[in-house]
């Protein structure tokens, strides 16, 4: 900008004697149209590159909730322990199951359900709640989705303390399980749950940003599914064995998600059927999320 000085001569220095800033408009059209899978994938990869940001925010969300409390996020673990114990005792009575079987079953089921329900419920608000950020800072919308799933994963990890405690008090060999390498299958199972969490919150998030009736609907649907899914009750137990309705339980895909990760976590024999169902469901769900991300990714900032 040397010309500024050069031209700063009396009587009236013309600070603006220069060509307009805009250079010639290039003729070529832009390479990738806004509505394309390439842009959707770009959103996901760029969001992933921002992981320092969403990882930090995810932590912040949890710390935020327990700021100024003395034991902080430990409350997550404590409240899970209380709920799992209470539900375990209640359902062992209701189902006529020994506590040493029912309590670990309920505890793990409830921990897993918390993750699933959290992804769906909070997924409905994932973009609505971040309206300010979306409208003021250009970021891939996947950042908010990653942040949500990361937060849910951190909650899950906090609750694993309860799981370990339960496993120590009620070791798996008391109820037909045993410690083995197949328990490591819980890790890929958790990864699968996280992928599904990303997909479901992207999908539900986009739909509810457009239609604001969806968040309250998801709330009640998740509540209902909690009772319909064998989270606390044992669907192949002796008590329910003769009920004709039990065979419909397997039609509920959430059953397979819960069982897929609960079986290895409790050292139970692995039933591969659950994995196949989950894999198919994952393909369908991520496909759905990909299509919505492709078509409506750019609309989210208009809709929030």
């Amino acid at each position: 900008m040397d010309h500024w000085q050069a031209s700063a001569n009396p009587p009236v220095p013309s600070l603006t004697v220069q060509s307009p800033s805009t250079v010639e408009q290039p003729d070529q059209a832009p390479p990738v149209p806004s509505r394309s899978f390439a842009r959707a994938r770009q959103d996901l990869t760029q969001g992933w590159r921002n992981r320092q940001l969403w990882a930090h925010l995810g932590w912040q969300d949890i710390k935020q909730q327990y700021r100024r409390s003395v034991i902080g996020p430990l409350w997550i673990t404590i409240s899970m322990a209380v709920t799992a114990t209470a539900l375990g005792i209640l359902y062992s009575g209701l189902m006529g199951q020994p506590l040493e079987r029912q309590l670990p079953y309920v505890a793990v089921g409830f921990i897993v359900w918390n993750f699933i329900g959290g992804c769906v419920n909070e997924g409905a608000n994932v973009f609505i709640a971040n309206e300010g950020l979306i409208k003021h800072l250009p970021a891939p919308i996947s950042v908010h989705v990653y942040r949500l799933v990361w937060r849910q994963t951190l909650l899950f990890l906090h609750n694993l303390v309860v799981y370990v405690a339960v496993l120590l008090i009620f070791p798996p060999w008391n109820y037909g399980g045993h410690i083995s390498f197949s328990m490591l299958l819980a890790v890929p199972a958790l990864l699968l749950l996280m992928v599904n969490g990303l997909a479901v919150s992207t999908f539900v998030g986009i739909v509810s940003t457009r239609f604001r009736d969806i968040p309250p609907i998801t709330g009640s649907v998740v509540q209902m599914l909690f009772f319909m899914t064998p989270v606390a009750w044992i669907y192949d137990s002796q008590l329910l064995h003769n009920s004709p309705r039990v065979k419909y339980a397997e039609l509920n895909p959430f059953l397979h998600y819960v069982e897929m990760i609960r079986q290895p976590m409790l050292g139970q024999p692995i039933v591969w059927r659950h994995w196949y169902v989950v894999l198919v469901a994952t393909v369908v769900l991520t496909g759905l999320a990909a299509i919505f991300l492709r078509n409506y990714r750019a609309r989210v900032s208009y809709w929030v």
């Binding site: 500024w4 000085q5 700063a8 009236v12 220095p13 307009p20 800033s21 408009q25 832009p30 912040q60």
Partner: protein, 266 residues
């Protein structure tokens, strides 16, 4: 090489009122087979036929009346809004400074807010840690940086936000007006930092009503009127047409000297 290209772009906002923004109309409307004439969502055409091509080194001022589309244009250029018609391409790391409060959390300390705000503006954690001392010096907040942001006065918050924003290294800097609201002495210092920031950035677009700021930071301008680009060209040319008089004519000599010095050192 940073660049912003916009081809024939329009930005149109659908306005869903409480009734249309629900499934009821979408579902029931079809089921009933009767769609009322007002079923279509009203649309606000915020920007139309925007053609812009900016390259490294450009310093563009945006002028226009309230509601002319300056802020929306900035959001289009930042990539927040992708055009509903036409195309846009932004190459480079964008640092938008539209609202100093966004991304600030009242419950966490000033120090933590510095880090988070920096991450939002595309910096890494390590880069921000290095800048914390510099920001502490500039904001004169001292030990307050360890206190939660909610204990800060409005002015202190603005200081913190300005301190962070002016500490980053943006490739594309998009500034919206309304970054005042601080005491005059502080603004003088902020001005220096703002000038430094603009000099570091590869490309600047600045929406403002202040002739002085525009003359200091920009060398060309776009005049927005009712969502369209009414004029585009050199700053003096556009300001003269927009204001109806040459704003450079009434500028005191010492200001011109300073402007020249700023421009010369860039």
């Amino acid at each position: 090489m940073v660049s912003i290209d916009v081809w024939n772009a329009s930005v149109e906002f659908p306005i869903f009122d409480a009734k249309t923004r629900s499934l009821k109309k979408a579902v029931l409307g079809k089921a009933g087979g009767k769609i009322s004439s007002d079923a279509k969502v009203p649309v606000i055409e915020a920007l139309q036929d925007i053609n812009i091509s900016l390259r490294h080194g450009d310093r563009v001022g945006l002028v226009g009346h309230n509601g002319a589309g300056k802020s929306t244009l900035l959001r289009l250029l930042s990539g927040i809004y992708e055009p509903t018609r036409g195309n846009s391409r932004v190459v480079g790391k964008v640092a938008p400074v539209f609202d100093l409060g966004v991304g600030m959390d009242p419950e966490i300390s000033g120090h933590e807010n510095i880090i988070i705000r920096g991450l939002f503006l595309g910096m890494t954690r390590a880069q921000m840690e290095k800048r914390v001392d510099d920001i502490a010096d500039f904001t004169e907040l001292g030990n307050y940086l360890n206190m939660p942001l909610r204990t800060y006065s409005t002015g202190m918050r603005v200081r913190l936000a300005l301190g962070v924003v002016t500490s980053i290294d943006p490739e594309i800097l998009l500034l919206d007006e309304g970054i005042g609201a601080v005491d005059a002495a502080f603004l003088e210092r902020a001005r220096d930092r703002l000038n430094d920031l603009v000099r570091r950035s590869g490309l600047l677009v600045f929406a403002s009503h202040s002739d002085e700021f525009l003359m200091e930071l920009c060398n060309s301008a776009i005049w927005m009127d009712q969502g369209r680009m009414k004029m585009q060209g050199g700053l003096r040319e556009v300001l003269t047409a927009y204001k109806g008089h040459d704003p450079f004519q009434n500028v005191p000599q010492h200001v011109l000297d300073r402007l020249a010095a700023v421009g010369g050192s860039a």
